[in-house]
Symmetry: D3
Amino acid sequence: MFHHQKETAYFCKPDRPDPIYARKLQELIGGQWGEMSVMTAYLFQGWNCRGPAKYKDMLLDIGTEEIGHVEMLATMVARLLESSPVEAQEHAASNPAVGAILGGSRIEDAILTGMDPQHFIVSGLGATPNDSNGFPFTARYVVASGNMLADFRYNVAAESQGRMQACRLYEMTQDRGVRDMLHFNIARDTMHQNQWLAAIEQLKLDGLEDTLCPGNFPQELEKHDAAYTFLNHSRGTESMEGRWASGPSMDGRGQFTYIEDVPALGDAPVLGMIDPRVHGTSPAPQQPVSGTAD
Amino acid sequence: MFHHQKETAYFCKPDRPDPIYARKLQELIGGQWGEMSVMTAYLFQGWNCRGPAKYKDMLLDIGTEEIGHVEMLATMVARLLESSPVEAQEHAASNPAVGAILGGSRIEDAILTGMDPQHFIVSGLGATPNDSNGFPFTARYVVASGNMLADFRYNVAAESQGRMQACRLYEMTQDRGVRDMLHFNIARDTMHQNQWLAAIEQLKLDGLEDTLCPGNFPQELEKHDAAYTFLNHSRGTESMEGRWASGPSMDGRGQFTYIEDVPALGDAPVLGMIDPRVHGTSPAPQQPVSGTAD
Amino acid sequence: MFHHQKETAYFCKPDRPDPIYARKLQELIGGQWGEMSVMTAYLFQGWNCRGPAKYKDMLLDIGTEEIGHVEMLATMVARLLESSPVEAQEHAASNPAVGAILGGSRIEDAILTGMDPQHFIVSGLGATPNDSNGFPFTARYVVASGNMLADFRYNVAAESQGRMQACRLYEMTQDRGVRDMLHFNIARDTMHQNQWLAAIEQLKLDGLEDTLCPGNFPQELEKHDAAYTFLNHSRGTESMEGRWASGPSMDGRGQFTYIEDVPALGDAPVLGMIDPRVHGTSPAPQQPVSGTAD
Amino acid sequence: MFHHQKETAYFCKPDRPDPIYARKLQELIGGQWGEMSVMTAYLFQGWNCRGPAKYKDMLLDIGTEEIGHVEMLATMVARLLESSPVEAQEHAASNPAVGAILGGSRIEDAILTGMDPQHFIVSGLGATPNDSNGFPFTARYVVASGNMLADFRYNVAAESQGRMQACRLYEMTQDRGVRDMLHFNIARDTMHQNQWLAAIEQLKLDGLEDTLCPGNFPQELEKHDAAYTFLNHSRGTESMEGRWASGPSMDGRGQFTYIEDVPALGDAPVLGMIDPRVHGTSPAPQQPVSGTAD
Amino acid sequence: MFHHQKETAYFCKPDRPDPIYARKLQELIGGQWGEMSVMTAYLFQGWNCRGPAKYKDMLLDIGTEEIGHVEMLATMVARLLESSPVEAQEHAASNPAVGAILGGSRIEDAILTGMDPQHFIVSGLGATPNDSNGFPFTARYVVASGNMLADFRYNVAAESQGRMQACRLYEMTQDRGVRDMLHFNIARDTMHQNQWLAAIEQLKLDGLEDTLCPGNFPQELEKHDAAYTFLNHSRGTESMEGRWASGPSMDGRGQFTYIEDVPALGDAPVLGMIDPRVHGTSPAPQQPVSGTAD
Amino acid sequence: MFHHQKETAYFCKPDRPDPIYARKLQELIGGQWGEMSVMTAYLFQGWNCRGPAKYKDMLLDIGTEEIGHVEMLATMVARLLESSPVEAQEHAASNPAVGAILGGSRIEDAILTGMDPQHFIVSGLGATPNDSNGFPFTARYVVASGNMLADFRYNVAAESQGRMQACRLYEMTQDRGVRDMLHFNIARDTMHQNQWLAAIEQLKLDGLEDTLCPGNFPQELEKHDAAYTFLNHSRGTESMEGRWASGPSMDGRGQFTYIEDVPALGDAPVLGMIDPRVHGTSPAPQQPVSGTAD
C-alpha cells in the first residue's frame, strides 16, 4: 500500500516557460528509458520477488522513489508549458517581421509546431505519459523475469541509458531551474547505477547467482565447443583485437577462442509437405480441394 | 553488405511436429528478448558506431550471427507446424471419445486452439515475426544509444534474459531435435554473456569508459549528497542489509549511506494560470471566451 | 513524493493455484480498464491539475490508492501461478489416460497453454503489466486533458467498466480467497463510481463547469440548428422512441428534434491539383518530372 | 448494410492551404478521441447490442453519422495540404532572407518540418488515419462492453473530450472555411453529449440500469465498509472539502465517510517457493537442475 | 455522407454457438488483412483521390460495401458467442469425468480458455475490433498513398490475402450457417481481386500509369546498370532458373541480367567525430565536458 | 547463415550534414514500406517457403540484399546527423538576429526541433529503427503467408510504395551525395518491381498459381452471382465507366456486371439472450444475480 506526501522529492520549477523543451523532457517521463519504465519495472520486480526479504524491500523502496520522480518531471513539464500557444499566436500576429511566407504557414506556426501539438490539443498544457515524439509509454519496456541477476543487469542498463539521456537534456537548456532539477536527477542516477552493481555483488555474496545467468542450468548439457568461441562473420579480423577474442572467459570457466572462418554446422533446410487445404503454395500444381461442402 | 549461405548455423529439425510448442518457441523469435531484438540492436549499434574499428567489427560480426539464429528458429517453427490442423480436426472427428461438450466447442478445438491460430490462418504453417502471444516484434525493444558502455550493459542484460528464456523453453519439451538445437543456442548465449562482459572490460582497458555511465559528465555538477545515498521509502529497514546500503560505492567515488527517513526536499507544487482559451478547468469560474469569430 | 507500506490494502491470497485464472485476472492489471490505467490517469490528472486544491488532493489520494490495487492484483497473480508447469507436465506424463493425441500435442499441453505462456517463459511465474491476451498496458489508455469535467466523465466510465469486469471475473472462479479480494475491489469500485459522480456535482456547485463540456466556448458560434437535432441515418424510426429524440435537452438549453430524412448540407467534394513531383495520380497523364538533376 | 451519398454532411473547404494546421487537425481524425474512435465504438456497440431495438437503431444511426464526419475531416485535410512542399522549397530558395543557417538546415526546412513529413512522403498530400503526432488510430481506443450504461458513460466522456479538442483547434486558426466547419462539428458534439446523457436517463426510465454499474451484481456480497468511504492517502485533508467526502452517496444507498488515516487491511505478502526449473532466483542457493537430458 | 440499412448484405447466422471459432473469425474483422483494414484503406483512398471521378466513386462504393462486411462478421461473432462460459462452467462442474487435474486448472477451463478471454471479460459476448490473438486493429495496416497504381497493387494483395484467410477459416468449421456466409464472402473476394486487376488495366487505358510505379520519375536519373540486374547474394545459383533472371523485363524497358558474384560498390564506412557533449563513445578517451554550469 | 562484407552495397555519403533531412530519410528505414519491412518479409517468406528451390533461393537472395540496404540508409542518416545540435545552439546564441521570441522558445529551437529529438536524446546522433515520425518499425508490416501468389502481389505493392517514397524523398533534397545514393536505390526498386512481376509470371508458367488467389479452393462452392458483380453503393453511376464494371473478368471465368441498386440479401439481425451473469444490458430489467456466494 502507498501513501502520498504533498512535497516533491526535489524542486521542479523552471525559470521560464519553454514549450519546445517541454516536449524534449517528455523523453524522461514516458520514453523507453524514462521514469515510468523504471518505476514499473522495479515495482513488478518487487511484487514478484521470491528471494530474501532485503531484495524485495530494496526493490519496492526504489520503485516507490521513482513514482516521485515521475511526479517531479510531470510538474516541471506542466510549468514549462505555461505560456499559451494562443497568446503566442497573437503576439506573432502583431509582429510585422513575421508575416505569412508559405501558403498559410508562418514562422510562428513553425515555432508552435516545435512543441508537441498534443500538449495543447490533448493535455491542455499538462504533461503526458508519452515520449518526446508523442509515442505512448508501453509496458513492453518493462522487465520483471523472476531472475534477479537477469533483472538487475537490465536495471544497470536502464540507469545507464537514463543518466545519459538526462545528461543530454542538460546540454540542451540554459534554464537554471531545469538544470537545478537535473543536478538532482543525475545524482540519483549515479546512486542507482551503483546500487544495482552492488545488488549484483550481493547476489554473489549470498550465493544466489554467479556470473553466468541463469546459474542453475547444468552447463554440461551445452554444446561445449560453442560456449566460448568468437565467430568472425566477416572478412577482416579487426574483431580479433578485443578482450572477447582471447584469454580466460569472464565466468572463469573457459578460454575465449577466435574462429576466423565460421563453418555452418547445419544443412540446407528443405521443409516438408503440408495439407493442401492450407491453401499455400506447394512444390507441384494442386487440384481444387476443400473440406466437404455442406 | 551481406551474403547468405544455404546451410544453417546449426541443425534445427524436431523429431516430430508439435504446434503448441511452436507457439511457445515464437518467444525466442519475436519476443522482447528474442533473436530479432538482439539482431537489430547489434546491427544498429555497429552501423552507428563511432568508436575504434574493433568494436564496430565485433558488433557487426555478432549482429550477422544473430540473423542466422532467427533463421534457425524460424525453420524449426515451420517444421514443428507440419501436422495440419485440418488433419487433426478430421482425426478427432473419427474418435468417439472426443465428442461435443459445450455448444459446439470440442476438446480437439481446445487443442487446436492451444496453437497460435495465426499459425494456420495468417502464416499458413510458417513462422511469424511475433512472440508467444502473437504480439509483433517492435523496434521499441531495440537499443543503440551511441554510448557503448550503456549499450553493452543492455546487451549483457539481453543475453541473460535470452539464455534464461531458452533454458525455460528447454524444460518444456522432451523432443530430442529441439533440445539438440537448444544445446547450441544456450551455449551461444553463454558465449555472448561472456563476450559483452569482456567488451565492457575492454572499454575500461582502452580508457573509453569507467564504471559510471556516461563517463564524461562533470560529476561536480551533481547534487553530491544525493549521489550515494540509499533512500528508504518504507517503514521497516530490511533494505538496510544489502551491499547497496553501506561501504564504498561501486565506482569507488563515494560511500553508500542509508537514509531511514527520507525528507522531501521540494515544496508542494501549485501550478500557474493559463489562457482560458485552452478550455481547461481553472481555479475560478470562467466566462465564455474564444478567438475572435469570423 | 510517495511512501510504501509493506502491508497490502486488503488480503490477496487464493485458496489454491490456478494458472488459467491468473491469465484472466491480468485483465484487471494491464487491460484497457485495469488498475494501471486508472492509477496513471488519476496521477497525471492530479499532477496537471490547475483547479482548486481540494481537487488536486483528491485526485492524488485516489491515484495513490490505485497503486496499491495494482500491488494486490500482482501479488494475487504471482500466487495463482505457484504450481509449476514443469511439475504439471510430469504429472501428466505419468497419467495413462492422457497420451499423445495429435502429432505431439497432448491434452496437458492444451491445459498448460490455457495459461499465458509468457507467465512461464517471460515472467517466471510472476505477474506481468499486460492484459488477459498478453497485450501490454499502453499509456494510450490514459486520459488527463486539463478539463476536469471531461476527465471526471471519463473516470466515471472507467470505474463502470472496471467494476463490470471485476464482476465478470468474480463469476469465473469459485476460489474463496480470490472472491474475498474481489468483494473488496468491487466495493471500492462502487465508492469510486459514486466519488466521480459526486466530483462532477462539486464542479457545478463551485461554478466551474455545467452540463456542456467545455463550458466556456461561446455557444452562439455553433451552428444552432445542428446542436439539438437527432439525425436518423437509416430507414425505419425505432430511434425516434428514445429520450434523445424529443423533449428538453439535458443541458436545458434546447429542444431535441428528430430529423427523419437527413439532408447532406455540403456538396460533393472535388480535390484540387497538386505538384506533379508528389508522384501521385493526377486527373490526366503526366510527363516525367523531377527536381533538377545533380 | 451501408450506402454512400456523394455530398458531405457539411462544407469542408478551407480558405487557403495550411499544411501545419493540417497536421494538427489529424488529431480529430485518428486521435484517441477522434472521429474514427467514436465511429468504431458506436458501430460495434450497435452491432453487439442485445437490448431493446430503439437502442440498437440509435447507436447505428450515430455511428453512421460519424463515418461522414471522418469523411469531412479527411477532405478538409487533403485541401489544407494543397500547397506542395516542393513548391515551398523552391520559393524559399529564391528568397535571399532565408539562407542556410545551420549545417544544411534552413528555416524553410523548419517550416516544412512543422508539417507532418508523412503527409508528403507517405500519403502524397492526403489525410492519414493517424493523430497529430503521426501515431496511428488503434482499436484499443474503442469500447463496446455489452453493458450500455458503462458504454454510454464512456460515450459522454468521448463527446466531452472531442468537443473540447475541437474548441482548442478552433482557437488555433483564423481560416474562415475551417472555422465554418468547426461551427458545425462543435454543434454536433453539443447534441451528442446531450444525446448520451438522455440515453442514460432512458436506461433508467426503462428500468434497465440505475446509478451503479453494473446494476445486477448483488451488492450484499461487497465489503460494505469499503463501499462508501473516501480514503485519504496523504497527509493533509484538503480532499475532505468535496462532495465526495460526506453526505449521501450518489446512488442513494450509502453515506460518504472520510477516513483520514487509512489502515492497511492486508498483511505483508511473502510469496511461496516454485520449481527450480523455472530458473528464477530463490531464497537460498540452488543446485544446477534441468529436465532429464536427452 | 453515409446511410445505414438495417438488413445485412448477406445472412450471418451460425447453426450453433462456437466460442472457439468466434475467436478465429476475429482475424477477418480486425486482423492485418481483415475487413476493417480494407474498409479503411478504400475509404481513405477515395477521400484523398485526385484522379478522374470514376475512380473516386468506385473506391467509395467498395469502401462502403466493406463497412457492411464488418457488420456481417461482427454479427456472426456475437451469435457464435451466445453460449455463456458461466453456463459451460456449471455444466462441466456436474460432469464427474472432468475433475480437477492440475492445481485448480480443469479441462473445461482449458476449453473456456480456448476462447478469447476478452470475449467474456471485456466485450460481454460481443465482437471486438481485434484479430484472432486479441491484437487490436491498427491504422498502420492501412494504405492510401495518393498514387493509385501503388495503392491498387496493395489492394490486389489485400484481397488475395483476405480470400486465402477466408478459405482457411472455411476449412476449420463444419457449421452450415458459417459456411453459407463464407460462400458469399469468398465470392466477393473473387470479385474484388478481379476488380483491382481491372482497375490497374483501366489506369493504363487512361494513360495515367504504366508498369513501373511511379510512372513520372525520369528514369534516366537512375543508375542504369542496377535497374535490371538480379543480384545473387548466396553461393549456389538456384535463383538463376526463374523468369526474373533473364529475358525482357516486365516493363519492356530492359533485359534481366543475373550477377552471380555481387560486387560491393561502396566502401567500408567510417563515421565522423561528433561533439563530446553528446556523451557518446568516441574513438579516444574524453575529458569531462558539459555546457557552462549555472 | 549469413556473412558480412565491410564495404556497403553502394556509396552512402552526403555532401553535408542535414539533421532535418535525416529525420525524413528514416521513413525508408523503419516506415511501413521501409527497408526493414521488405527485408523481414522476404526473409520470412524464404525461410517458410515450401515451394520449388528456385523460389526459396530467390527470396533469400533479395532478403539478404535488403539487409544491406538498411545498412546504407542507417549509415547515411548517421552522417547527416554529424552537426551537433549543441553546436547549433551555441552558434545561434551568438547571432543577434535570433533572439528569444516567445517565452523561452527561439527560432533555433524550432530548427533543432525540426529534427527528430530522439536523434539527439536517444540515439546520440545515430540512425534509429523508426519512421519519420519516430514511430517504431513493427512486425505487423510484415507478410509471409505461405501462399506465394498472395505474397508476391504484396511484394509488388511494397516495391511500388517504396520506389514512390524514394522518389518523393529525392525531390526534397539537393544534396548530391544523398541523390547519388537514391539514384541507386530507385534503380533497385525498378528491378524489384520487375522481379516480383516476373515471379508471378513464373508461378503461372510452373502451373502453381493462376489469376485468382488461392487457386485451389473449389470455385463452385462460392455464391456465383456475387463473384463477378460490381455493387454500386451510392447514388450516381460514375463507377460504371471503368473496366471493372463490364467485359470479361480478369481471371477469364466470368463477365463483370454492374448492379446499380444493391439489394440487401440478409435480414435485420436480432441477437439472442445471454446469461445474466455476463452483467450486460438485456432487453428487459434484470434481478441481481451472481454465482453462488462463498
